[in-house]
Structure formats: structure tokens, C-alpha cells
Symmetry: C2
Subunit: 333 residues, 2 copies
DNA sequence: CCGTCGCGTGAAAACGTTTTCAGAAAAAGA
DNA sequence: TCTTTTTCTGAAAACGTTTTCACGCGACGG
């Protein structure tokens, strides 16, 4: 527990000047052994901890990294958050987390808030703030953005190939013999969502299956939306034997819709999600999905940020998506 | 986007002293209309934002609240986090979130870290740091703790009645006619977990059902533990018709174990959880559970902390648990 | 017409560090 | 022994605010 002792008090107790104490603390210059000893003793005696605020003010560095997330209650974000947290710990930095609630204006305002607090960098996790704006921000403070494509001098982007993911998911279903494949899309303003839809279309086209508008419906990346949309799909009466949900949460909702109507998964309908949330191996049956290394993305974001701040080179290698086959998909009878 | 302009520059631009600018900013004293106008103009012209660091240093207040959580990746914690975040926004405070990973030593160290950063208060979300230690910390900085029972001058506790929750869950099963009721307990060092077990025993005793050690097994509050423990339980060969899982995540795991063995829920075995995580209404079938108002607890924690910091009175009313009956429990045939 | 009051204001001293600058002491070179 | 260098150290000036203190000034009552 840090005390109220100040560096000056330590200096007095040790009979040296404040400068000397500071030098010992930071290893800025050589100090004679006896003074060093006296100071070190005084430090433990007084139980001294440097005042980070004063340090920050002087150095112009706050040792804080701002993180903008969208919904702290979504497993998708919190996994990334955990990665960031783990990546930061031990570096002396701490994370100031604020959430933008998917609202671009709110996000921009939060960026301002973080800047006012003189954070040393901002990590922006997904969200739908326009890319150009991010680039503009990055002129003021180093930034790392996930789910965005833009890059610049002080801006790194980490993004997975969502088109490929959508393609792979759909292709998996096609390989199992399905040809009537429905899709519950994500939030249309997010490229993540539209890219997955594009991938879906590509796979269809490749297999020579005509795209059918009646089999695609607009979700919201959440369970409730999945439930609703699946019901909608079912009610349309256009038959389908497989469903590609834009993310796992949507898949959970759809799964429930099927359950309610006595439709068995995967016996009657195959279901595939996207993300591979921590809960997905434990659904009944365990969910087949496109694994997105969310945690690793978080760690990578943290590492990239640390490198950016320290002016060190850092090569981002785009995290790979991976088809994870569990038990909600099966070969068409 | 905040600029590099300082208060002194604003003062110069407006032809007044720094003190005057400060007074206008904080409304500390009356200032003549013309100077005020000049200053306000200079502020927007220079796009000035006060340096929070300097303010903090001077005022001895950092406008930051530290939050210690255990696992940012568990829905239980993130829901609380969301409540805290929402409760804080608009107050000018920001949340510095660190995680203790269930490790008391790590938790204590993190408290030190937060204190070094001169946070104005610390909210500690669950965790197994000893109560006395929390009390000790609270002598240095205002604290709010959830899942702990201790209170003091600068310490507020928010905790639900876990004994009652365990009792109610078990009683629900008993009311449905079950008499062979298994229990997968939580982490034994957490009172949350042991309290729920106590409640389980109480309900059993009340109903005149002898407590059977063979029907209780030690989980870890996570899905994987639930899966393992349910299998263990099944392998023991002691028959049971209902299972009370110490939390929802454990229930998810157990559910999967049953599914794997072709045991139907609720037809063959009734299952009840604890927490009511956001995902629980969307499991198949939707999980019967004891609803814990996690989000509200977060908001309450934030409000209590703000009140504590502002020296305002605040009455914490303990959040109520509630039996939420869905579809994983049914009357014994 | 002269003390007293209240109001608006600026100068300057904090807050707790880091860092430049220069001086003193010690070591090295001649 | 007398420079010249090298080490080590302290004084003092920052960093960008807030806040105390005191001062000038017009208004007030006597």
C-alpha cells in the first residue's frame, strides 16, 4: 500500500538531494554506493512509491492505454479485452476502458475523452467509426484498430479475412451436400458483417447455386436477433437445410428457434456460426463455427501498441480464421 | 480532439491571468462579463482542453476509479463491469480495469498498482482476497466490494443472499417432487460457493432428505468443470433425478455431459443453475436458474462509489435473487 | 472627506516529479 | 605539482494546473 511519502521526504531522510533520489529510481546516472544505500533504506523505511501522476505530468506520458470497446457484455469483446489486458500487464501500462456502444458519435467523443486524459495510445476494438476519422485521430496519438483496414504512420490495423470466413463456412455446408443454405447476416453497417455475406455469396456462386434473397435475413449479432430471424426464415416457407449465422450469438438464438419448433440440429438443419466464443464448445450440441482467434487479436493489439509507443518495429501477421467442425453440421441425408 | 494549448496560452490570448482562466473553467469565483467572453473565445480559438494530469496532481484527485475483476472473460464479471461502466459515465470519472485472476496475492498487488496511480476509489468485484485486508485497504482509499460482507467507514459491500439462493434452487427441485438431488459446488474458497452449498443442505434438511456426500462434487464455476463433474457424478452410479449447479456456466457444462450420454433434460434429469447469464435464456432448452441482478449490482457499486467519493449518503439495498423458471426443470414423472 | 467593505483580479506558491546546468571533488595525465 | 578530464551531486527550472494572498478600486456609511 503506497504511502503519502514524497520523493523529497525520502531525499531528506537519506540526506541527499531530490535529484539523486530520482536518479536512483530511474537509473538515469551513476550514484555512489553509500548514497544509494541510504536512499534505498529511506525508500523502504518511508514505504515510498513514486506518484505516477507527477511523473506523467513531467514526462508527458501517462503510462495509460485507452481502449474503446463496443459492448463490454459481449463475449466477443471481452475475449479481446482479456488479450489486451494480458498483453499489457507487466509493461507498467494500464488500460482505461470505455465503451462506444456501437455509436460512431459516442465513439468519437470517447476518443476525445481519452485524449484529454493524455493516454499514450488508443486501441479501438471494432466499432463503426469511419476509417478516415481513425486516421485523423492517429495524427494526435498512436492507434491500433481491430476490425478496420486502414493503416498509417502511427496507426496499425488488425483484421481477419471475413470474406474468406464467410466463404469457408458456406463451402463447408456445400461440401456436406447442402444446396439450400440460409444466412442470418450481421449489422449491415459493419464491414465484418457485409464481408461475411460476400463470402457466402462467393461460395454459392462457385458451386453454381443461385443466390436467393428469400434465404437471407438481417440480424443484429445477438441471440435475440438470431431467434427472431430464424423464425422469420422459417415462416417464409422457403425450405432450407442449412443455416450460416453471421456470428455465434446469432447461432445460439437460431438454435433455440429450431428447438422450439422441434427441428433437430443437425439432423434436420445444419447450423454453423462465426467467432467460436468460449461457450460454443458447450452448447448442445457443440457448435460448428469459424474460429476467430479473438484473444490472440487482443494480445496482438497490445503488442502492436506497445511497439508503436516505444517506436519499435512490429510486424503484425494477420490472424488466421479456421473452420472448427463440431456437431451442428452433418452431411445431407 | 484536444490540442496542446495550455491554460497559460489561453490566458495570454485573452489578455488575462492564468488564475482568471482557471476560475472561469471551474466557476470558482465571479469574473467580469467581458473577460469571461474573451477567455471563452480564446478557449474555442485555441481548442483548449485542460490537462487532466495537471489537474489531478494539483487537486490530489485523479478522477479515476480502479476496478478489480477476476476474469474479464467470464460473462458474470463482464455484466457487472458493464453496470459499473454505465454507472460511471457522465460523472467525469473513468474506470481503470485490472484483473486479479482469482489470485489473492495478485489482487493485493493490483490494489497497490491502483493506489500508486492515485485512483480515487477501488471497486473490487468478487475475488478471494480476505475481508480484513479489504478493510485495511479502505483506510487508504474508498472501496466498494461485491461478494464480500465487510463494511466500514470508507467501505461499502454489496452482496446477495447466496444461502437463500441455494436454498431456493434446491427447494424448487424438491417442490417438483425430486428427492435425489445432486449438486456441483463452486470454488470452495469463495463464500459465494459455500453459501450456495449451505442453502442446498438447508433445503434438504427442511424436507427431511438426508444429505448424501456422494451426490456433491467440487466444480470450478466454469463449463469445463461442469462437464467433468457431471460425468463424475454419473459414473458414481448413485442415482439422481435433479442437479443444482453452483452457477450457470457449470450448468452449461453439465448439460453437455448429459447430452453426450443421451440423458434428456428435463425429461430424465432436471437442471438448475445460478446467475442467469445473458446466454441462459438461449440455451436448449432455456435454463432454469436463480437470477442474480449482476448488471444492477454493477450500477449500484458505481453509485455507491461515487457517493463515497463525494461524501454523500447512499443507502445500498441488497439486490434480490429470484427464481427464474424456464425449461430445464420439470415435475418428477 | 475619510476609514471600511466587497468585488474582481494578478502574482506567486504550491502539487511531486524529471532534467538541465553547473559546480565540486576525485582521478588521471603531464 | 598543476592542469585536464571524469564522476558525482545539488540547485533550480520546468510540467500545467489550482489556490491562497494581497492589492487596487469603486461604493458605502459616518
Amino acid at each position: 500500500m503506497p504511502s503519502g511519502a514524497t520523493l523529497i521526504e525520502v531525499a531528506e531522510a537519506a540526506g541527499v538531494s531530490a535529484s539523486t533520489v530520482s536518479r536512483i529510481l530511474n537509473g538515469t546516472a551513476r550514484v555512489s554506493a553509500d548514497k544509494r544505500k541510504a536512499v534505498e533504506k529511506a525508500i523502504v523505511d518511508l514505504n515510498f512509491t513514486p506518484n505516477v501522476l507527477a511523473q506523467s505530468l513531467k514526462r508527458g506520458q501517462s503510462m495509460t492505454i485507452g481502449v474503446i470497446t463496443q459492448a463490454v457484455d459481449s463475449p466477443f469483446f471481452t475475449e479481446t479485452l482479456k488479450g489486451i489486458e494480458d498483453g499489457i500487464t507487466g509493461s507498467g501500462f494500464a488500460a482505461l476502458i470505455v465503451s462506444g456502444h456501437w455509436n460512431p458519435d459516442e465513439e468519437a467523443e470517447r476518443v476525445g475523452l481519452l485524449m484529454a486524459r493524455k493516454v499514450d495510445g488508443i486501441i479501438i476494438v471494432s466499432g463503426n467509426i469511419p476509417d478516415e476519422q481513425i486516421v485523423r485521430f492517429s495524427e494526435h496519438v498512436p492507434m491500433v484498430a481491430t476490425g478496420h483496414g486502414c493503416e498509417s504512420d502511427r496507426l496499425r490495423a488488425i483484421r481477419v479475412d471475413n470474406v474468406w470466413g464467410g466463404y469457408r463456412a458456406t463451402k463447408h455446408l456445400i461440401e456436406l451436400g447442402h444446396r439450400q443454405i440460409a444466412h442470418i447476416a450481421g449489422i449491415p453497417t459493419l464491414t465484418d458483417a457485409t464481408d461475411r455475406l460476400t463470402g457466402y455469396k462467393q461460395a454459392l456462386e462457385e458451386a453454381g447455386i443461385p443466390y436467393n434473397d428469400a434465404l437471407v435475413v438481417q440480424g443484429d449479432f445477438r441471440e435475440s436477433g438470431g431467434l427472431l430471424c430464424a423464425n422469420q426464415l422459417l415462416d417464409r416457407g422457403v425450405p432450407f437445410t442449412a443455416l450460416f449465422a453471421a456470428n455465434d450469438q446469432t447461432a445460439y438464438g437460431a438454435r433455440l428457434a429450431f428447438f422450439r419448433r422441434g427441428i433437430r440440429v443437425p439432423d434436420d438443419i445444419s447450423l454453423i456460426g462465426f467467432d467460436d466464443l468460449p461457450g460454443s464448445p458447450y452448447t448442445t450440441p457443440p457448435l460448428t463455427t469459424i474460429r476467430q482467434p479473438v484473444y490472440e487479436i487482443g494480445r496482438m493489439a497490445a503488442a502492436a501498441m506497445l511497439a508503436l509507443i516505444g517506436n519499435k518495429p512490429f510486424k503484425i501477421e494477420p490472424p488466421q480464421l479456421e473452420l472448427t467442425i463440431r456437431e451442428t453440421t452433418r452431411r445431407l441425408r
